[in-house]
């Protein structure tokens, strides 16, 4: 039979070449370098007891402002504390504040945004105007005030203050998403069957809007860490005794006078590297999101 008919037009060797390109696997898009560095830093902070060579809060008054050497790997600060130990110990506080503040702000944003999205027109308008007014008050000012009301700052009060002042932009996004989602049949059906607010939020709304706020949430961790360090640096955040990357940097004015670069550079480099890793992970999330949207 094969002799009778001849294949024309299709060249078999060409057809084989046209195998569709291999699609990117899920792990190709992840910025591995950032993830590994971030895991190293977070792990080092979590298990700081194993790494630390000295007691981070012990003030060795004989050895103050010593440049990095064998005994003090990253040198000592102006109060004689070992910077190497402080970095890992203080990283805990900084990272904790970053995550706790984000949890608080995301929680508020989800509740507020959903209420505003599900609410009737006039209430929605009122709530959104309120957020805009809150957004328009300078952030630093509100933080200073709240901190003053709460009294002396500690890790918890600071995360609370940062969390409570940074939920507005996420809430706005959630509200827009919920406005679009609320007219879907499944939401209406769930409401007709008597589903409560939190049930609908958890079952129907949150799975739909979570992907669009993920990027903002990751970026919120970043800005919370920056805010903690800025506040501690200016002197309204954590006091000197509570070690964090920010409060370590608040010694830098004294360090500037003596030219002790390691007191300024080393905690800062850790801070910046952590922020960079978080940013690249956030960017990766955003890119994935955009890809999905363009496919639709």
């Amino acid at each position: 039979m094969s002799d009778l008919f001849e294949m024309v037009g299709v060249k078999p060797e060409l057809a084989e070449q046209q195998v569709p390109e291999k699609e990117n696997r899920w792990y190709d898009t992840i910025p591995w370098l950032s993830v590994i560095i971030l895991i190293l830093i977070v792990g080092g902070c979590l298990f700081c007891n194993r790494i630390m060579t000295k007691d981070p809060s012990y003030m060795d008054l004989k050895n103050y402002t010593i440049a990095p050497c064998k005994e003090f790997l990253f040198g000592t600060d102006t109060m004689g504390r070992d910077i190497f130990s402080m970095i890992w110990y203080g990283g805990r506080q900084s990272l904790f504040i970053g995550i706790a503040a984000t949890v608080i702000s995301t929680g508020i944003a989800i509740i507020f945004g959903t209420v505003s999205g599900m609410a009737p027109e006039w209430l929605d308008m009122l709530l959104m105007r309120a957020t805009e007014i809150l957004l328009s008050i300078p952030n630093l000012l509100t933080v200073i005030f709240l901190q003053a009301i709460l009294g002396k700052a500690n890790v918890f009060s600071l995360s609370f203050v940062i969390g409570i002042t940074s939920w507005m932009s996420i809430a706005k996004i959630i509200r827009t998403e919920v406005r679009q989602l609320r007219n879907n049949e499944y939401v209406i059906a769930a409401r007709c069957m008597g589903g409560g607010f939190f049930y609908i939020l958890y079952k129907h709304l949150a799975p739909n809007f979570l992907s669009s706020i993920m990027f903002m949430v990751v970026m919120n961790i970043r800005s919370a860490i920056v805010e903690e360090s800025t506040l501690s640096f200016i002197g309204i955040g954590l006091p000197l005794e509570v070690i964090s990357w920010g409060s370590m940097l608040s010694l830098s004015e004294k360090a500037l006078l003596t030219g002790a670069w390691w007191i300024i550079l080393i905690p800062g480099v850790f801070l910046v590297v952590t922020l960079l890793c978080i940013t690249s992970i956030g960017d990766c999330i955003r890119k994935k999101l955009n890809k999905q949207e363009s496919n639709l």
């Binding site: 328009s136 300078p138 003053a148 360090s229 640096f233 910046v272």
Partner: protein
Amino acid sequence: MLYYGKKLVIFMISVGLLSLVTFYVSRLAPGDPLFSYYGERVEKMSPEEREWAEEKLGLNDKISVQYSRWINQVFHGNFGRSYKYKMDVLDVLKSRLGNTLLLGGTGFLIIFAGALLLGVICAWKEGGWLDKIICKAGTIISCVPEFWLALVLILVFSVSLRWLPSSGAYAVGQEKNISDRILHMILPLTVIVTEHLWYYGYMVRNKMLDEIRADYVLLAKAKGIKKSRIMLVHCMRNIMPSYLSIMAISVTHIMGGTYVAETVFSYPGIGTLAYESARYKDYNLLMIISLMSGIIIIACNMAAQILNERIDPRMRISRQSEMQEVDNYE
């Protein structure tokens, strides 16, 4: 006309609310305002003297009474005296406002032009090495906290190299010397600009990239119009309205950045003044600073909204057609 009237009403309400909130919160916060007026002497005061002092400054009334008195004074153009400087707060503010305007204004102009330039360059060379380098560098720089960048700059340029002064707006007795002022402005200005430049540059880049994928660009190209003309004339016209409204909002961010930079470089501007007054409970000064910042911010947000809704002819047409649709429907 009705449109602007509405905006004005919302503006007034926002400012009023802002003043109320700031007033209450600042009074509720712990701390001793007498300390900023009398300094160390407060600790040695007897209870009677304290009471007399509080009476004199009007601090022992209820907060609501204090607020209504303050509002009443404000409408008569009297913003009260600063406890710390013992002068009219307007005079205190006037002495510092110029410095901040100079720093923040120059920063804003550089950011405005620079972001546009960077964004257009990146979009022009999309995917090329220049674009990649600028994007990477921009991401890294935007991760650096502002105050730390300031510290490193001080460390390098004033402590190690001794090229530039590390603090103040001018050397002692050199108030009128322009070159000295510029020298003092370089470091704070660098901090403000680098912190914000890429954020807006990236925005312009993405907007531009969206724009050059539009159909009219293809048409223009088919007509044989040069690439530079398409990008700088045709596309630019389309991204300008949204860029302008973004830049109107950016005033807020740049102002915040200016405040932080001022504190680190101890530059005598509004930022350091705000920090001082919040710290030492200099109530009258605090009120006028937060009111002024708030007014600028709210005004900028409104300007952005108006720009968004009014300036872009496309918006106007779409609104008209919407209205017509509604009419037809009825």
